[in-house]
């Protein structure tokens, strides 16, 4: 397999000697795919910090279920903010940003197709997500008490969805139509393939959410009869912020892992077709998403009853796991090589991939009715696993392709250190929720849950995990900023060329 590595300055507008305002204007009107991708990633990092802050607050409030530190009225908005930001503020835009920044380069295109459309997508998403957060602050969102702010939340969500679809269309068109001459689709790098599959999944599922949203917003604004008004928002749109839909948002993350394993092994992936099939299998989840129905497993009744329950359950929840399992197995198979040279970005990629797999396994377990995990914090734990796991993979991608994106290196120790610390933080934040879920701790509640077991301990550990992850994010942003400004200048990509470990 041959990839084409373009210079990092390609497509960038000349901004030298244009001053600060000129530089800002160049960024705001850019058509350089790397800049558009970085705008997505940078803004998603801002929402990630907000999400981690909200999750820490919620965890802190749950340590003592008998009393409340903050205003009880805030909690509805905080829970809505955590779900909305995790999906539409962090995971989906982070992956779209990486796809925009990297996919054109990886397929040998000079730029992303329809760059202005991609930039429009960024603006729609960024403005929409800001509107969503503002409406939540103003007592809007699902269950919100201010009707105008609820309308504003729905409007913001519509902009977010439109923005993501617009950017995804550019990614799809780039990988399908702008490859280097003579390069077959089967020859594109794993990350470009997974970007395309992930973007197609967004293009096909998010419009269904948009259509439902149109119904909900018209109903909320005029009649508030059919769709349950403010209390019905999550009933109708919650599927777009939970599993299996979130699996689709993180498909490119699996591609990052598939891309980095051969770089560590210093050889090509011998079973590329298998990797592509594995990535494609995850997109099967889109069928489960657009049905807007939870496909659980009820192992009761006759054999026919069991089969009727098992087939959709397995199709929508187990096949995506098989897909990730195939990619992980092939990544490990590639590492069976004599020429292995560990590189720092592989550490967060591998650990993050493992977190995503843990989320998928958790989701499959939660949907078994006899496990009695429905309505508990178990689902929140899965969302934390998938969100933080995706962030870890994104961090590895930024480190690995940093030299390609901005021509500078991130220090290996920082990359590996943040990856390892982020992994510990993820486990601390999410695993107690899995345990508390088995103990029947209610979802979306901060008080009056009581169960046999150290409830305070689980929630305290989870809070520490979120706080630790916040620290990792701050350090990662600082390290990336420093690298961008004063990092070691490199030609090519030392992670691939063998110059860095």
């Amino acid at each position: 397999m041959t990839t084409v590595n373009l210079p990092s300055t390609l497509g960038a507008e000349a901004t030298a000697d244009s001053g600060f305002l000129g530089s800002v204007a160049a960024w705001l009107t850019t058509t350089d795919h790397k800049r558009i991708g970085r705008l997505f990633i940078g803004t998603a990092a801002l929402w990630l910090l907000t999400y981690v802050g909200v999750a820490t607050l919620l965890g802190f409030e749950r340590i003592d279920s008998k009393s409340l530190t903050f205003n009880e009225g805030m909690m509805t908005q905080l829970f809505a903010a955590s779900k909305t930001l995790a999906s539409f503020g962090v995971t989906a835009p982070l992956m779209i940003g990486l796809s925009l920044a990297l996919a054109p380069t990886l397929v040998g295109a000079r730029s992303v197709m329809f760059a202005r459309n991609a930039m429009l997508g960024f603006y729609l998403w960024a403005i929409g997500s800001a509107v969503v957060v503002a409406s939540l602050v103003g007592n809007g969102g699902p269950g919100g008490g201010n009707a105008q702010m609820v309308d504003l939340y729905l409007l913001g969500l519509a902009l977010v969805i439109l923005g993501l679809i617009a950017a995804a269309v550019s990614v799809v068109a780039t990988v399908l139509s702008a490859r280097t001459a003579g390069t077959d689709l089967a020859d594109v790098p794993s990350f470009a393939w997974s970007s395309m599959v992930g973007s197609i999944s967004l293009v096909l599922t998010l419009p269904v959410a948009l259509g439902t949203l149109i119904y909900v917003v018209v109903d909320h604004h005029y009649t508030r009869v059919a769709f349950g008004a403010n209390m019905g928002i999550m009933k109708w749109l919650g599927w777009s912020m939970s599993q299996p839909q979130t699996f689709l948002y993180v498909i490119p993350a699996i591609g990052v892992l598939a891309e980095l394993a051969p770089a560590v092994a210093r050889r090509t992936q011998p079973l590329r077709g298998g990797v592509f099939i594995g990535v494609g299998l995850i997109s099967v989840a889109l069928l489960g998403s657009v049905t807007q129905t939870v496909h659980g497993l009820a192992w009761t009744g006759t054999f026919i009853d069991k089969a009727k329950s098992f087939v959709p359950y397995a199709l929508f929840n187990l096949l995506p796991i098989l897909g990730v399992g195939v990619v992980l197995a092939l990544a490990l198979f590639t590492l069976k090589s004599d020429s292995i040279k560990m590189i720092a970005p592989f550490i967060p990629a591998f650990l993050g991939g493992g977190m995503i797999l843990t989320a998928m396994l958790g989701n499959a377990l939660q949907l078994i009715s006899s496990a009695n995990l429905s309505g508990t914090v178990f689902e929140e734990g899965a969302l934390v696993y998938i969100t933080y796991g995706t962030v870890l993979v994104a961090w590895s991608a930024i480190a690995f392709w940093g030299p390609t994106l901005w021509g500078r290196m991130l220090p290996a120790a920082v990359v590996a250190g943040i990856g390892a610390l982020g992994f510990v933080a993820t486990v601390l934040a999410a695993l107690p929720m899995y345990i508390a879920g088995f103990a029947d701790q209610q979802a979306d509640s901060v008080k009056d849950f009581d169960y046999s077991g150290p409830a305070g301990l689980w929630n305290a550990v989870s809070t520490v995990g979120h706080a630790l992850f916040a620290l990792c994010v701050v350090v990662a942003i600082a390290a990336a900023g420093k690298s961008l400004a004063t990092g070691q200048r490199v030609a090519g990509n030392p992670w691939i060329d063998g110059g860095a470990q």
Partner: protein, 204 residues
């Protein structure tokens, strides 16, 4: 053995992208199809959940369409035919563009746009004849939401027709990509509308 480093080649020469507009329009058409069919699915869900009543021919039917609302069948059927004609005009533009016939390509594109305007006009006429009040109930809310979305999609189709027509007028008749993508978009609009027409106006 080939190493990862060996696999990185310098950038090659600029190559013409392969039908990017057609592919991007295909993606938009896919998104639009999921949008409309997703909305129709929710429509079905509500209609199936509505109570049953005895219909005019003594059959049990869903009490979904309010008794005081009448679907203007002539106007809706005319609108359905109009949408099919718009798609045919779009295909005529492709036929003419293939033969580098700028005059007929422009004419076909403008006619497509005008037919789109006629479709908007017909939809407004349907609204007026039905006299449904949006805030009166679930049916009315969903009726305006789904037909309004279709109306917005038709307006984007009209804009597409105008852009394509002015490009051909500007001398870019050899650039068939826009005309082909335009035809595909109108095929999508026609298909989506026919589905909506059958579910909302015929099946009621």
């Amino acid at each position: 053995m080939t190493t990862a480093g060996d696999r990185v080649l310098p950038a090659g020469p600029t190559t013409a992208a392969r039908h990017p507009l057609f592919i991007a329009t295909g993606a938009v058409v896919g998104a639009g199809t999921m949008l409309m069919f997703g909305m129709l699915a929710v429509w079905f869900k509500f209609r199936d959940a509505s109570p049953l009543r005895v219909g005019r021919n003594n059959k049990m039917i869903h009490d979904w369409l309010p008794a005081d609302l009448k679907i203007p069948e002539v106007a809706t059927n005319t609108l359905a035919i109009t949408m099919v004609i718009a798609a045919i005009m779009g295909q005529w533009a492709v036929y003419s563009a293939t033969r580098k016939d700028a005059q007929h390509t422009t004419l076909a594109l403008f006619i497509t746009g005008v037919i789109g305007v006629a479709a908007v006009n017909a939809q407004v006429a349907i609204y007026k004849q039905m006299g449904a009040v949006l805030a009166d109930g679930s049916y009315q809310t969903m009726f305006y939401a789904i037909t309004g979305t279709m109306l917005v999609l038709i307006c984007t189709g009209i804009a597409f027709s105008l852009v394509a027509a002015f490009r051909v007028l500007g001398g870019r008749v050899a650039d068939r990509a826009v005309v082909t993508a335009h035809a595909m978009y109108w095929y999508f609009l026609s298909t989506a509308f026919i589905a909506l027409w059958f579910v909302v106006y015929v099946q009621k």
